[in-house]
């Protein structure tokens, strides 16, 4: 509930700066550990050998205790409302084939293990696919239903429900084979300065995580909790929505949701979080 005077000073300092990063180091991730409904969630892990980071921290560790507590109890997690809606959607017939998701997938828990490996290579289409693609492929090719938009409520509900099945499993996304070139492209985007502020992802999330950017505590920018319930949004949002928001903040022209650029960035950013637990649906500020 109560923050230390030191943290207050940091925040006051951050207010004093209109643009740029506060040079304090007092905002390191906290020491709290996360268990959801009795299940341990890995929120920090030694980074893999090839990582530019030494230690990985989930974004949860950078949040205030009030925000953290919203994720520790599935009843209090407002993102779980979307999951319940998705359970209804899963059983609902939609499209010309008269099928519901449940007609082919008897139990949604069959999707356990899918979320940690996304995005992945789609052999048939010879391109990378995200969870949104997988869901829409089912809808358009097997159900005869209309594709959902990337940020449609139905899509967010469903990505939350499917992601939840893997909660607690480590992110293990594949970066070799046909995904290697996608990963390289994502890496290049990650380190490329863009926008009027001339910043790359790395300036905030690699070089300055733990510090305050104005009134906000910078995380390492992992995506293991998406779709995320953001207090600011008052609802769930996709990984690509977050990317778009970041790009707007540095006054760049954002790529589109579902674009090749954001898919490549999704793969690269996912790979930076290998070993952290899937936390879907996470809660952030």
């Amino acid at each position: 509930m109560h923050r230390t005077g030191k943290k207050l000073a940091v925040i006051a300092g951050a207010f004093a700066l209109t643009i740029g990063l506060a040079s304090h180091s007092a905002g390191d991730p906290d020491e709290n550990s996360l268990a959801i409904e009795g299940e341990t969630i890995v929120t920090d892990v030694k980074a893999p050998a090839d990582s530019p980071l030494e230690h990985l921290y989930s974004g949860w560790r950078f949040r205030a205790s009030e925000t953290q507590s919203l994720q520790t109890d599935d009843f209090e997690n407002p993102g779980m409302v979307a999951v319940e809606q998705a359970i209804d959607q899963f059983a609902m017939v939609d499209g010309s084939e008269g099928k519901a998701c449940a007609d082919c997938h008897a139990d949604v828990s069959d999707f356990k293990g899918l979320r940690p490996n996304l995005p992945r290579w789609d052999e048939a289409k010879s391109k990378p696919e995200t969870l949104e693609h997988i869901i829409n492929e089912c809808r358009t090719e097997r159900m005869g239903a209309k594709a959902w938009k990337w940020e449609a409520q139905e899509m967010l509900n469903m990505t939350a429900l499917i992601g939840l099945q893997s909660r607690g499993m480590p992110v293990t996304v594949e970066t070799g084979g046909p995904m290697a070139s996608v990963w390289e492209k994502g890496k290049e985007l990650y380190y490329t300065r863009v926008g009027q502020l001339d910043m790359s992802c790395a300036h905030c999330h690699e070089n300055n995580y733990g510090k305050m950017i104005r009134a906000d505590h910078l995380s390492q920018g992992h995506i293991n909790g998406f779709p995320v319930y953001r207090l600011k949004w008052g609802g769930l949002g996709s990984i690509h929505r977050r990317f778009k928001g970041c790009m707007q903040n540095i006054r760049a022209t954002p790529f589109k949701r579902g674009s090749d650029e954001f898919i490549a960035l999704e793969l690269y950013v996912a790979s930076r979080g290998k070993g952290l637990s899937v936390e879907v649906p996470s809660v952030r500020n």
């Binding site: 009030e66 925000t67 507590s69 906000d216 600011k232 928001g245 903040n249």
Partner: protein, 151 residues
Amino acid sequence: MKITRRKAMALGTAGALFAVFGSRINRAHASAEEIDAALKAFAEGAEIGEGQVSLTTPEIAENGNTVPISVEVDSPMTEDNHVKSVMVLADGNPNPEVITFNFTAASGVATAKTRIRLAKTQNVIAVAKMSDGSVHMAKNQVKVTIGGCGG
């Protein structure tokens, strides 16, 4: 004008304020008179005392869209002696009213939790009315950080 100035000042980000109350605000915040009037109407002539009410709020809210608050009022909660209601006000919002909890002797304990919207740093006020008509108040300041990152 407001929009332009804000945009120029902010790091390209729409703060919590925008999300809650849109990009323009009709009134900056509730007037002191409005708060007084709301308190007087609730107290129904009783003098408003301190104590007995404990209000828990974060010192700093990470986002003004969702600020967890809880109130607890010290009372035996019997038929003869219980808390009837607790009104919560926020003196820096466009309208001061937030929520009123109505308790009964069957509540056992007069406590409730919810999540509220705060447009900016301001005082949250909880005022409790007892079955004997007496009224007690607690007030906490909550600092609301605006300019959180990300769209």
